[in-house]
């Protein structure tokens, strides 16, 4: 009980240590390089996937949407876990910085989930003739989107920032516990109502020439996610710390400090 009480009620208060400021300064140097690497990978992956990868025997060229649908779906799920982990760190060690990262991760994850859903729906049209297909993977993705929206709505509902952070961190944690259960039960539900033809979940066996562009695109998306997450976190840090001295100096660099 002793250790648990000590860890749970750890009174460290990082706000004073200026860790958001340390994060801002540390990332200023190499952020552009990260962005350049991400864009480069994405460009290579796109041209490779769109132009040079061979056609798919059954689906023709419409399968090329896989090069954005699958990475976006990966990132949507990974993004939720990243958000929940940051929330957990914030809850346990009372780190304000990790709450800021969590707040930044929520909209990015939601947007990527939406992209995955949209591209999945558009891909469904040429393949099965309908935009919306109650396929297991797409249904779970839809529920993941609602989980994201729930976390964002809750974090915005509190007047005090800190309470909003903690509450949405707890909801994200409860969400992560439920995601595997939701995915499994939706898969079970889907196989129960299995109309014979729908088979999006098992992509056709992918041969190397199609697989390598997919890997580059996935890597590109991960780098892009890291880049955008840091960008959004830095933006939120400035918003939250606007009262402090270092932010004012940063923002008001060129303003002549007229002494009263």
């Amino acid at each position: 009980m002793e250790k648990w009480a000590n860890m749970k009620l750890s009174w460290q208060w990082f706000h004073r240590l200026g860790s958001p400021r340390w994060f801002y300064q540390k990332t200023s140097a190499w952020l552009p390089w990260l962005g350049a690497a991400a864009l480069l990978l994405l460009a290579v992956g796109c041209t490779w996937g769109l132009g040079f990868a061979p056609q798919d025997a059954k689906q023709g060229n419409s399968y090329r949407i896989i090069y954005i649908h699958v990475p976006a779906a990966f990132l949507a799920l990974a993004g939720y876990y990243i958000m929940a982990i940051c929330g957990a760190i914030g809850l346990i060690w009372k780190m304000k910085l990790s709450f800021v990262v969590m707040r930044a991760a929520a909209p990015i994850g939601a947007v990527l989930t939406f992209v995955a859903l949209l591209t999945g729906a558009v891909w469904g049209k040429p393949t099965w003739g309908t935009y919306w297909v109650w396929d297991a993977r797409i249904t779970s993705m839809l529920i993941l989107l609602f989980l994201y929206l729930g976390v964002m709505a809750l974090s915005g509902a509190f007047s005090r920032e800190l309470s909003g952070d903690k509450a949405s961190a707890l909801l994200a944690l409860v969400g992560t516990v439920n995601i595997p259960i939701i995915y499994k039960s939706v898969d079970w539900w889907f196989t129960l109502h299995q109309p014979a033809t729908l088979k999006l979940t098992q992509a056709s066996t992918i041969d190397p020439s199609m697989f390598y562009p997919l890997i580059t695109m996935i890597a590109g998306f991960y780098l892009f996610y890291a880049w955008v997450l840091i960008l959004h976190t830095r933006g939120l840090i400035l918003q939250r710390e606007w009262r402090t001295q270092w932010v004012r100096e940063l923002l008001g660099q060129s303003a002549p400090a007229a002494k009263a």
Partner: protein, 232 residues
């Protein structure tokens, strides 16, 4: 009706003397605004502390920090020499807290409320009589007025076996003259029995020995707003 108050074993002097709440270098912040810093006081058994300050000076935030409801503070709060958070569990075990909200369930009667706080039937009846709620023991609290509900909460102070540390947020608010007098008598009696009281109040309270702590004396040396002006 000589009520027998000393049902429980008499604690030895050592454990009573040690039950003190020591606050040093305490700084609290709310919504990014530093309320006070460097707060210093010690609440020894048998003594009382009255926390004063303008509205919004941070009295309620201080109280919530002392009972462990708010956790973003720097400085140390120690109960029986044990700093938070380890000391918090021990402190809560010997705490009687009456906050801004009375803590009285509106769906229950005063008797049931006091029973829920662990009081026997006759102790509760006597306590309710002392706070002037004779005859209202079985009326649902939702039918009682706000003042009466507050008195049901204050009746907890009249129960025997009361915890040694009392932390009361604005106890004298919405009390009439006789209510205030009765409460002050009971607090003096509690202090004489070796208990300690920490309360916030705007009006003077004649209980002794009383240490008055004014939050204005501990306002942050350089308020954040001034920092803003200095940068301009």
């Amino acid at each position: 009706m000589a009520s027998e108050l000393s049902k429980s074993p008499v604690p030895d002097a050592q454990s009573v003397r040690e039950q003190s709440l020591a606050v040093s270098g305490l700084a609290c912040e709310r919504d990014g605004r530093l309320l006070f810093e460097g707060l210093e006081f010690t609440l020894a058994p048998g003594a009382a502390v009255q926390v004063e300050g303008a509205n919004g000076a941070g009295k309620s935030t201080l109280i919530r920090t002392l009972i462990g409801s708010a956790s973003d503070f720097t400085g140390t709060i120690a109960w029986q020499g044990l700093a938070f958070p380890r000391g918090l569990a021990a402190m809560r075990a010997s705490l009687l807290y009456i906050g801004h909200y009375a803590g009285v369930r509106r769906g229950l009667t005063p008797l049931e409320n006091l029973a829920w706080y662990g009081a026997g039937q006759d102790d509760a009846m006597r306590a309710l009589e002392l706070v002037g709620l004779y005859g209202f023991e079985d009326v649902l609290c939702q039918q009682l007025s706000a003042g009466q509900n507050r008195r049901v909460a204050l009746a907890r102070l009249y129960l025997p076996d009361s915890p040694p540390l009392w932390i009361l947020d604005e106890p004298l608010a919405a009390l009439d003259v006789t209510g205030v007098a009765g409460l002050e008598t009971q607090m003096n009696c509690h202090l004489r029995r070796g208990g300690s009281v920490l309360l916030t109040s705007h009006q003077p309270v004649n209980i002794a020995p009383l240490q008055r702590v004014n939050l204005a004396d501990f306002s942050p040396r350089m308020a954040v707003e001034e920092e803003l002006h200095r940068a301009v």
